[in-house]
């Protein structure tokens, strides 16, 4: 585990201030990004991958922060479904995050970290920043945008707001709007962070971070990424390193031990304020609302864009029914859309895991 402050992230600074949905502006926006594969001379082979809530720009190869493989190593690389021998893959850390892009832990105009002075951002703001990044990189039109979960929201937002920037949109395990239940889970996580005495109204930089609150937030969210079937298969009611229940509050059950580990290890690599800001952006996401209330209207400009949408039968966070609303809207504007609900046991996290049918769909669609 490397300290993120010691890593020299590859990044660029946007020329112009970024106008945000909130009405505020963010000047000097830095975006950390990684690329894989060569950009063709005509710049026609670029694929932009959007990462999920707690993801980062390290899609493939080794992540220098964690020392582990990139989060979509199984999907991106030479000879993989998104083949870096053919495509120039770009992935940027979203604004609001903490892996090299401007976020609440970055230095603000007053000299110290922004903390809660950072403006509230939206999914569309994240996409705007990445389109400005493409301008800087001299890439006008993408072969495809691809994303799962929050990455899928960005992919849909990109199609709705910047349809001229991409030929294809691949959105996996995602939704066009956050439901009351989605918001409720996020609010619980945010309250856990804010209830941690170390949070200090967000001004904890230089002191103890609200790691306990962030760990609880992560534990709660992690449950929503898995299916009951998956949890039962993995842990059941099995006990952790013991023969009998302790009649105490240690992690008796394997599932407790697993969640505690997930929560704790997350705090090493993620900033609590970033978690607040990014979950807020997801909660504000409602593609129909931002286009006058009718989802089909969001896609009027994208009727020549090819779409591929994928949901998973065990994903109860962003369901097949949520995805069908997107399919319906795209049919209404006669956009060329493919949709498939794949069967996989892992719940929402299926998009990151071993689902061979997903590999085939991605490879076929990206072409």
């Amino acid at each position: 585990m490397a300290n993120t402050s010691e890593i020299d992230f590859r990044s660029l600074v946007l020329d112009a201030p970024l106008a945000l949905d909130s009405g505020r502006e963010l000047a000097g926006v830095q975006l950390a990004y990684e690329t894989y594969g060569e950009l063709a001379p005509d710049k026609g082979n670029a694929v932009l991958i959007f990462h999920a809530l707690t993801g980062d720009q390290f899609v493939a190869g080794t992540n220098p922060v964690t020392g582990k493989p990139g989060w979509w190593e199984r999907m991106v690389g030479p000879g993989k479904p998104i083949d870096t021998d053919r495509f120039h893959v770009i992935c940027a850390n979203v604004i609001g995050s903490c892996l090299g892009s401007t976020g609440p832990s970055s230095t603000g105009p007053e000299g110290g970290p922004y903390a809660m002075q950072f403006p509230v951002i939206t999914i569309r703001d994240m996409v705007r920043a990445q389109m400005a990044m493409l301008d800087t990189l001299g890439i006008e039109r993408l072969h495809a945008v691809v994303g799962g979960s929050m990455g899928g929201m960005q992919a849909l937002s990109c199609a709705a707001n910047f349809p001229e920037r991409t030929d294809r949109v691949l959105a996996i395990a995602t939704t066009a709007r956050h439901t009351a239940q989605n918001i409720a889970f996020h609010e619980m996580g945010r309250q856990a962070i804010m209830a941690d005495p170390n949070w200090q109204g967000g001004d904890y930089y230089g002191g103890e971070a609200p790691a306990k609150g962030l760990a609880v937030a992560r534990m709660a969210a992690h449950i929503t990424y898995l299916s009951e079937e998956g949890l039962t298969a993995k842990f059941g009611r099995r006990l952790q390193d013991r023969e009998a229940k302790s009649f105490g509050f240690d992690a008796d059950f394997q599932v407790e031990s697993y969640l505690r580990y997930q929560g704790l290890s997350f705090t090493d690599r993620f900033d609590a304020n970033s978690y607040l800001y990014i979950t807020r952006a997801m909660d504000y996401f409602d593609l129909a609302e931002e286009h006058g209330g009718l989802l089909a209207d969001a896609f009027r400009g994208a009727k020549d864009t090819r779409f591929c949408l994928v949901s998973f039968d065990t994903d109860w966070l962003y369901t097949t029914a949520d995805m069908r609303e997107v399919v319906h809207a795209l049919n209404a504007v006669a956009a060329p859309v493919s949709f498939v609900e794949l069967s996989a046991p892992y719940g929402h996290d299926s998009f990151l895991l071993d689902v061979p049918a997903l590999d085939r769909v991605v490879e076929g669609f990206i072409g």
């Binding site: 591929c308 319906h328 006669a334 859309v337 949709f339 049918a357 769909v361 076929g364």
Partner: protein
């Protein structure tokens, strides 16, 4: 790639460059033929996720959906041509499905197995059991084909609903056969039929 006889017939008659919806498109053989041979903008609907995944991996635009329900999601006149091949007899409500087909498509091609094919009649007459054939495999309790019909039934049905027939073709043992006349016409001799329909 060789298309099944009824699909080849449909492909031959779909106008060049048409916007086409293939309902129950399977892995997309007909869609691909229409795109390559006719320059069509072809879209598909298919209930089986494995078939959808294969069609998508061929670069086709296919939506996983249940024709019995999800056709309602398409706007009126969204397509020049809507195709329903060998699927009518599996629908919960064939009448509703046909209405939807002629709502989303300005014209429709429909193909189905003819339950009055002479071998079927003979099978039932001789054995007193539900016929099982190449086009209608599976026992009565497990078959997906829940609304058997004959060519004569279909003609009557279309007349009742005011649907016009602008073409019909008949097949037996993989070959096209003539329409014929009288009791030993197509309704006796055809294993399956293709109709081209308009409102």
């Amino acid at each position: 790639m060789t298309l099944r006889a009824d699909l080849a017939k449909i492909a031959a008659h779909v106008p060049e460059g048409a916007r086409v919806l293939d309902v129950g498109c399977g892995e997309g053989d007909l869609m691909e033929a229409l795109q390559v041979q006719k320059g069509c903008d072809a879209r598909g609907m298919e209930i089986d996720p494995e078939a959808v995944a294969k069609a998508v991996s061929r670069g086709l635009s296919v939506v996983q959906g249940d024709a019995d329900r999800d056709l309602a999601d398409y706007p009126d006149g969204a397509f020049d041509v809507a195709i329903l091949s060998q699927t009518l007899q599996t629908a919960q409500r064939p009448d509703w499905l046909l209405d939807q087909l002629l709502r989303v498509g300005r014209e429709a091609f429909v193909s189905f197995p003819n339950f009055a094919y002479w071998r079927m009649r003979l099978f039932l007459l001789r054995n007193g059991r539900m016929p099982i054939s190449r086009h209608l495999p599976g026992s009565w309790y497990e078959t997906a084909n829940i609304h058997h019909l004959t060519i004569a039934d279909f003609h009557e049905f279309l007349a009742l609903r005011g649907v016009r027939v602008s073409g019909s073709w008949f097949f037996a043992a993989g070959n096209e056969i003539g329409r014929g006349n009288g009791p030993f016409g197509a309704n006796w001799r055809a294993e399956h039929a293709v109709f081209r329909l308009r409102r």
